[in-house]
Assembly symmetry: C2
Homo-oligomer: 223 residues x 2
């Protein structure tokens, strides 16, 4: 894989942790941020932590344009629409947007254990409504604790559920994310099912508070 | 524990499987049904499968009245309100209703992978609105595959998430359900969080269809 995967919101904890994990798995990464300078700093920091990885940094639109196929969106809900609208012509037909957005309460001053309901049904469906025609959205990564992703010594040992309307989109996403050690990728159905999957995040946040941990998800009964 | 636990909807697969598992753990069970004769038949069948257990059967209201503390409601969503309204004076202050209802699409001719939104926010909150004052609702058991409960040779090895507004209600429920071998009970927060937890069922149903299994849930990162 010579073309990099873009991670928009790559200076945030989730995006940065994901960059480290994918970079360690041999995936070249371009970190995107609103500020190109901060993106480059994060790329240098990532290279220091994962010397075998390939990291660069750029402004979000340039990062998305540099990715041939996969663009990950890892930003807070309040930044999802502005970020996508700000990409202009950067996203092009055939690209897959991997959307990790969760519509959590704090976007409107609420609690992190509360889930907001976007007009389209879920953050993922809102993303699909905002990207250019021919760009497909697959949602996933909602239940990964950002702090555990960053801690490279920590064995993830959990599942992530992905949603999307076409198998042809979900299969390469599962292949990509499946490169992350200890992460199993499961197909949770159509993109609209993301309204349920996104709810797992506030659920886990509540468990984290009550049990003082970084909870993750495992589906039992699978081979 | 001399007073039995009532399981309304005890002739259905979930209620019956739960009766077997609790009965095997030494909890006396009274199975409730709209039809007392069918409830008694189910109790005889349960006694045949779990000879060490104590099972009886009765009409739903009589079963609920026979329980000192715990009444489990394990019926399809379309039967939840009629069942609760039909209990008359059977539920009394101090009892805890353990509600396993999931508002699945088929209640209105829809898909089992779809979740309906009850007016009160969740089936559990609807139950709380329908029970007499002083009866507390704790929701749980949503993610247990009924067919695996019935299969007593199957090691459950999974979690169930419970929701309720008072710790004083959730603790005894956790103690009761925790007697089931292989089942870990986790506190998922206030009763309103049940709107998320109930969504896990259609999610698992979708995984069951796609992966041809009986999926369950495990939260990682807990001691």
């Amino acid at each position: 894989m010579s073309s990099p995967v873009a991670i928009l919101g790559g200076t945030g904890q989730l995006g940065f942790g994901l960059a480290l994990r994918l970079g360690r798995a041999g995936v070249p990464i371009v970190l995107g941020s609103r500020d190109a300078g901060r993106a480059r700093e994060a790329a240098e920091r990532a290279a220091g932590l994962v010397p075998e990885g390939t990291f660069s940094g750029d402004e979000n639109a340039a990062a998305a344009a540099a990715a041939e196929r996969f663009v990950v969106l890892a930003v807070p809900f309040a930044s999802q629409a502005p970020t996508l609208k700000g990409l202009g012509e950067a996203l092009t037909e055939g690209q897959i947007l991997i959307d990790a957005t969760v519509p959590l309460g704090p976007a409107v001053g609420g609690k992190p254990t509360h889930l907001l309901q976007p007009w389209h049904g879920s953050a993922a469906q809102q993303a699909q409504a905002l990207v250019p025609k021919g760009v497909r959205v697959v949602s996933g990564l909602h239940t990964l604790a950002a702090s555990l992703l960053e801690d490279l010594d920590h064995d993830l040992d959990q599942d992530t559920l992905i949603c999307g309307d076409r198998k042809a989109d979900k299969e390469p996403v599962a292949e990509l994310l499946g490169r992350i050690e200890g992460l199993r990728v499961l197909d949770a159905g159509r993109l609209e099912q993301s309204r349920i999957v996104e709810g797992l995040t506030p659920l886990l946040i509540g468990l984290n508070i009550r049990y003082k941990t970084h909870a993750g998800l495992r589906i039992t009964g699978l081979a």
